[in-house]
Amino acid sequence: MKMESATGAGAVPAHSEPRNPGMALDMGWVRSAQANTPAIERRAATLPGRRSVKKDHQAAWLLKAVTCIDLTTLSGDDTPGRVRRLCAKARAPVRIDLLDAMGMGPITVGAVCVYHDMIAPAVQALDGSGIPVAAVSTGFPAGLSPFHLRVAEIGESVAAGAAEIDIVISRRHVLTGDWQALYDEVRTFRAACGEAHLKAILATGELGSLRNVAKASLVAMMAGADFIKTSTGKESVNATLPVTLVMLRAIRAYHAATGFRVGYKPAGGISKAKDALVYLSMIKEELGDDWLSPHLFRFGASSLLGDIERQLEHHVTGAYSAAWRHPMG
């Protein structure tokens, strides 16, 4: 497995792993994708009871979760000042005294995720940290602006310094079964990204079924997605364990078929340290240790970090913590 240095982690680590180049759309494979909802729900429901991570292991796992967070602000009232505060938190997500007590060097989050107009202040604020800036794009969150503008938006965000582009797919292509259109769309977005990594947001809460999630996951990967991501955080249902299971299994199948590892990012609704542990154990079980790293796994979350900080302080002191003891982001 890939061993990361415990210190100085944070930036997408240099890894020898090639990017997923995509492949021709394989409609036979897409059509044969199955997802049995009750069985998937059963697996998702029993996993937390099958894996329990305690004490030092729990602390280490929570620190790992921190390094996999895309610290996110996606609000209409975002300002450069707000983004600078977030970026400062991204550089130092856990209090240094707590890290010292745990024998850990400094860590950072996985990335900072913002709208296009906030890329510049974020890039500036993160300068030298190695933390990438991710931008939501392509008419986020609905993805219904003119196609050429969506493609152009990617180019502008990359030019502004975004190293990762979180695109939204056209849900209608899934709902109408137009897999070719979905493939072409993501393929075009991928080309527009250039060297920037593409995270394909499937908006799983709007796809109607887990079967559609499985198919959309495959098509996005065939079209060259570096990551597949559950949701924008704006749908009424965002990341769930059953959806995660379906997407992880699609990633596994794609890896088995092509040899390329695609990353996974659940977003929205993960706010508890305990939930983060379950996600990590699901990744470990379904995909393996290779994926337990920020270059293949991210949490899209804004309030998760606060809960993890409190759990870590509890681990160090034995006393339950309070939110105001940790610097806000």
């Binding site: 009750p38 069985a39 329990s52 305690k54 292991h57 620190l63 850990m104």
Partner: protein, 778 residues
């Protein structure tokens, strides 16, 4: 390991469950246990040790019961039974509710103790065994409450001897004790000698619940104690365990009048179609064969996967196996714990080592250095002819083979002596629901596996035993009709004359496959009327005639798949044709009996035919109220091929009552006519011939029932035998039935009330309840 190192490796670490409370509980009893008899614990006697199979540590010493202990327990149960039954359902419901609550209050203690004693992962004892045991008591508290209104005319059987296995010690105890107590029975239960501790803890909570003394008695010890219970003065034996021991119990109890239910072994098929969600089907296998180290009677232990996806499926399966974590059962992150005892480990290892064919894959996970651990194992590419495809391994070993078509999948699935459970994976609802009813199994899971609940009947067909546990159908094992039957009157032989009365000679043959066939023996016997007059001759049926009739019955399997409506049409038609010849039959009956009640018997028979026809499309199953998004269908399926030995009383009425009830439910019948008035049966050929009864559905043999009964009962392709013979054949039938563990329904020398128009007792005997679980959701 430092946090930084763990951060780098992302290992799980350990998450051990504390054993402190469980050890305190044992220590408070000085680590020595007697039996629980008449509300109190006896002094520890001749002792044996109970060991934690994961560590080899001796947990406690238990007492081997003596004959005197068993007698005392049975006597206590006998003494307590009338008052317990007399308490009434509502009164008993309060106690069952208290037991459920106490199981819940002490849930963690039960779970930890179970895992220490049995070796199963704490996750399973905590999340599955103990909650299901609680649920069983809650459910049956409700059954006790409802007994008087919902089961009128039924009462407790009496004292039940119950023997439970070591794989689900507490859960099997709950499955046995809850329904027994709910229906007003008292029990003497023996836990398996390897795993008695949770039964003794249960005895403890019986005291806490102030359960009346003697209602629950628990004796510990090995198989010898089980044999003592089987031989004791109990009214019923309920056994869960191996088919081998079940067969012995069947033989031992034959002819004693003790009721018997057996939940035995299995080699349950796990069918994966190409359109299944393969990843979910792989995960299902983890729950099927690596649940409880595969020591599960209904384990999906025979993988049958469609050739088109077999390679892909096996690759995914092996990858999944390598993720299983094996080790300390008390660790909350362990998937596979310890096998129950070194003997089992050795037995399983020997079976796998002795397997000549197939490719063996063992889970890559490391095994602990000591303790009874065996790696999850797959043996790929076996054929039905390989012994491990047929024999129950009862360990974490999956065998697999492939199929081409759905018909072949069903053939392979049913190519087994067992019939406990089956699993079908397909995303095509048409396919899944087409296959499910064709599988020889008491429980079928569609796109899921090992789902259990108190509201759904569980139990097998074929050599997996008989009787159901759970649901309404589970109660029949613990109740009997409130009306006491009278002893059977055996007709006395009178003097006879040797001359036929004048007329055209009619020599009926046997009726096999819709045609008259000469008896293989080439002999006939004389039939005399009540006054001794020679009425005619009938063929002497023998072994080969039974064989031919059973073959004909199997060939008529289409009868089972006809709709109830269609079967009703045939039964009504039989009534029409019998009615048209009512006078002939009345004359035959009068000649045989010397009484003048033939007309009324024919009239009653017509009424039975109408009743059976009425029921043909109305003996419905039900949807069990299980806690699941989905349905659990408790369906009534025909038992199959029935052998029926007719009584001497009411020759026409009885024969037709039994025949029509069996036919109405879709069974085929081989019937041995009564010996006193066989001409009534042979005359009935013409009714069958003229009523569109498909050949082979109803086969009628004449001759000596004492000759035919053992052949029928021993026949391995007969599914049930009913004996209402005037001859003392109950023991013969029950003993010979052990061969394939066929269901039996015998009179034990007691009379049946033929005036009773309620056919439901017949219909229940003519059907098996098959529970089909269908979770749904998209």
């Amino acid at each position: 390991m430092s946090i930084a190192e763990i951060f780098a490796t992302m290992s799980y670490g350990t998450a051990p469950e504390s054993t402190a409370e469980a050890r305190d509980w044992i220590a408070a009893r000085d680590g020595r246990f007697g039996h629980f008899i008449d509300g109190g614990f006896t002094a520890p006697g001749d002792a044996f040790e109970t060991v934690n199979p994961a560590t080899g540590e001796v947990l406690a010493t238990l007492t081997q019961a003596t004959a005197g202990d068993v007698d005392a327990a049975v006597a206590a149960a006998r003494a307590a039974q009338p008052a317990w039954e007399g308490l009434g359902g509502a009164g008993r419901a309060r106690y069952l509710y208290a037991l459920a609550r106490l199981l819940q209050k002490h849930a963690r203690l039960f779970a930890v103790l179970e895992t220490m004693d049995n070796g199963k992962p704490i996750r399973e004892s905590r999340d599955i065994d103990v909650p299901l045991a609680q649920r069983h008591f809650y459910y049956h508290a409700g059954m006790a409450q409802l007994m008087e209104t919902e089961l009128p005319g039924r009462r407790a059987v009496g004292v039940c001897g119950q023997i439970v296995p070591w794989n689900f010690p507490l859960l099997m105890l709950a499955w046995k004790i809850a329904p027994a107590l709910a229906m007003g029975n008292t029990v003497v239960l023996k836990p398996a000698e390897w795993t008695s501790l949770t039964a003794l803890l249960f005895a403890d909570i019986c005291q806490q619940a102030s359960l009346p003394k003697g209602v629950v008695n628990i004796v510990t010890g090995d198989g010898a104690v089980g044999e003592m219970i089987v031989g004791a003065k109990v009214d019923k034996i309920a056994f869960t365990g191996s088919t081998e021991v079940g067969r012995r119990i069947r033989e031992t109890t034959a002819g004693t009048g003790k009721r018997l239910t057996l939940e035995l072994g299995g080699k349950s098929p796990y069918i994966v179609f190409e359109d299944a969600d393969l990843d979910s089907a792989v995960e299902g296998l983890v729950d099927a064969i690596w649940f409880n180290q595969g020591q599960v009677c209904c384990a999906g232990s025979r993988l049958i996967v469609q050739e088109s996806v077999a390679d892909d499926f096996h690759a995914r399966l092996k990858a999944r196996m390598d993720k299983l974590r094996i080790g300390d059962p008390l660790d909350k992150s362990i998937d596979v714990g310890a096998m129950v005892a070194p003997e089992q480990l050795t037995r399983v290892a020997a079976m796998v080592d002795g397997c000549a064919g197939g490719l063996i894959h063992r889970a890559a996970s490391p095994l602990p250095g000591t303790g009874c651990f065996y790696p999850p194992t797959l043996i790929e590419g076996l054929e039905p002819a390989d012994p491990l495809m047929q024999e129950e391994i009862f360990g974490p070993v999956l065998v697999s083979t492939t199929f081409r078509t759905k018909a072949e999948a069903v053939q392979l699935a049913n190519n087994t002596r067992y019939g406990l459970a089956a699993t079908v994976w397909s995303e095509n609802v048409n396919l899944a629901l087409d296959i499910a009813p064709r599988l020889a199994a008491g429980v079928v899971w569609v796109n899921a596996t090992n789902l259990f609940d108190a509201a759904a009947g569980f139990g097998g067909v074929r050599e997996s035993g008989f009787g159901r546990e759970g649901g309404w159908e589970g109660l029949s094992a613990y109740t009997r009709p409130a009306v006491e039957p009278a002893p059977l009157k055996v007709p006395a032989a009178g003097k006879t004359v040797a001359e036929l009365s004048p007329g055209i000679d009619r020599t009926p043959k046997l009726y096999i496959g819709g045609k008259q066939a000469r008896p293989d023996s080439g002999y006939v016997r004389a039939v005399h009327g009540a006054g001794g007059a020679l009425l005619g001759h009938v063929g002497m049926g023998s072994r080969k005639d039974v064989r031919n009739a059973v073959e004909a019955a199997h060939a008529a399997s289409g009868w089972a798949s006809m709709s109830g409506h269609q079967r009703a049409q045939v039964l009504y038609y039989m009534a029409e044709n019998l009615g048209a010849r009512a006078g002939d039959f009345a004359g035959l009956l009068d000649a045989a009996s010397g009484r003048g009640d033939g007309v009324s018997e024919v009239e009653a028979t017509l009424d039975r035919l109408f009743t059976a026809a009425a029921w043909a499309d109305k003996f419905d199953g039900r949807i069990a109220g299980v806690p699941l998004k989905g349905v659990a269908l408790a369906t009534r399926v025909p038992v199959g091929v029935l052998g029926i030995l007719c009584p001497e009383e009411a020759p026409l009425l009885w024969m037709v009552t039994a025949l029509a009830s069996a036919m109405a439910m879709g069974n085929r019948v081989v019937l041995a006519a009564c010996e006193g008035a066989p001409l009534v049966a042979t005359e009935f050929y013409q009714v069958l011939d003229t009523s569109d009864v498909p050949g082979g559905v109803a086969n009628i043999l004449t001759g000596a029932q004492a000759d035919l009964a053992p052949v029928m009962a021993a026949h391995l392709d007969v599914d049930a035998v009913w004996s209402f013979s005037a001859a003392d054949l109950s023991g013969v039938v029950e003993r010979a039935s052990a061969g394939n563990l066929k269901r039996t329904w015998v009179n034990h020398g007691l009379a049946t009330d033929w005036t009773d128009r309620d056919l439901r007792p017949f219909l229940e005997e003519a059907t098996e309840v098959r529970t089909v679980w269908i979770p749904y959701g998209e």
